[in-house]
Symmetry: C2
């Protein structure tokens, strides 16, 4: 009888499984777009994300106040610096990075808004189960809404309120687990063929 | 040799398969949210979609200019009428429907923006292959951007420009192919238990 009760509880627990806050895989590569409510800023970027080393690489193409731009950023959160790499001018600018590293995923104080299927569950390959969470930004700066996949905790979108742009939405796509070229997320300066033979000693 | 060339062409054709405009399944049920750039309107709705009969049913809950509302609409495009059903007051208002039926999916004159995976292709159940298309609204009223799944042509989102609200975004989810309760998309007036025995002759 005790075993029956235990099994019934286990079954009830399994059936009642609710989504939980989660951390995204520590190594991710992919692409994202950022768009803003007031249409002042729009960005497309390829990204490399390394939560183990607390670093990111962003290859950006965008439009700010009707001016297009391209940027190549390397963000080293542990060292609180970022590098702006200009391939055209062959320059690299070192900039203080004041924010702390924020791992991708859902923080533990977020509230579940709901679980839905994007697309359809009626056929194979037609749908994706995702969880959407909401919460408050630090320092009561506004709200955020974050969607990740149920399986894998892969980022789908993050929207948050900003003073400068109104709502800002990041949409992630073409994400793969891992980083195909670790070199690209480690080098603190651009390396050409010759620099491989002329490294600083 | 001819067979080899034919096979090579076939292979090249298969490898080079580009997404094509598509029509969504003629019967769909699901849910959607509509949100607007100027934040004046926000709607959550359950929908029934019947492209064969050119009709839709919308059970809406929303917020317009900081006033919440609930609506139950039946849209009969062939007959150019819609019905606003008020369950609380047990009334049904007949309203002319001036727009033509627009099947869900991608119209033939749309331009492909790109094909991406929402989520990730690194693990099972982690990703969804979608195609995003852009085009001009009728009468040059602005642009639209529409995303559907590669497999099944299930609607994911539609964004378009409006004069009243700026950009308006419809996000579809929990879609299933078919209509579980055909009654709900056909009845032109609400039917209670007694009306089953007191139908007009």
């Amino acid at each position: 009888m005790k075993i029956f009760v235990a099994l019934a509880c286990l079954l009830a627990g399994c059936l009642a499984q609710r989504p939980h806050p989660c951390e995204s895989p520590p190594l991710l590569s992919g692409a994202l777009t950022a768009s803003t409510q007031n249409e002042k800023l729009w960005v497309y970027a390829k990204y490399l994300y390394d939560a183990l080393g607390q670093r990111m690489r962003l290859f950006e193409f965008g439009n700010l106040d009707n001016q297009t731009f391209t940027y190549d950023f390397l963000l080293l959160y542990k060292e609180h610096v970022m590098y702006e790499i200009n391939h055209h001018n062959r320059t690299c600018k070192k900039i203080p990075l004041k924010v702390d590293f924020q791992p991708l995923g859902i923080s533990k104080d977020a509230s579940l808004l709901g679980q839905v299927i994007v697309g359809s569950s009626s056929g194979p390959g037609q749908g994706l189960l995702v969880n959407t969470w909401i919460g408050d930004l630090p320092n009561k700066e506004g709200k955020y809404m974050s969607t990740v996949t149920e399986f894998g905790c892969i980022p789908v979108s993050v929207a948050f309120q900003t003073k400068q742009y109104g709502w800002m939405v990041f949409s992630y796509f073409n994400n793969i687990i891992g980083i195909s070229d670790p070199d690209a997320s480690t080098d603190e300066e651009p390396i050409g063929f010759f620099s491989l033979f002329h490294r600083k000693n």
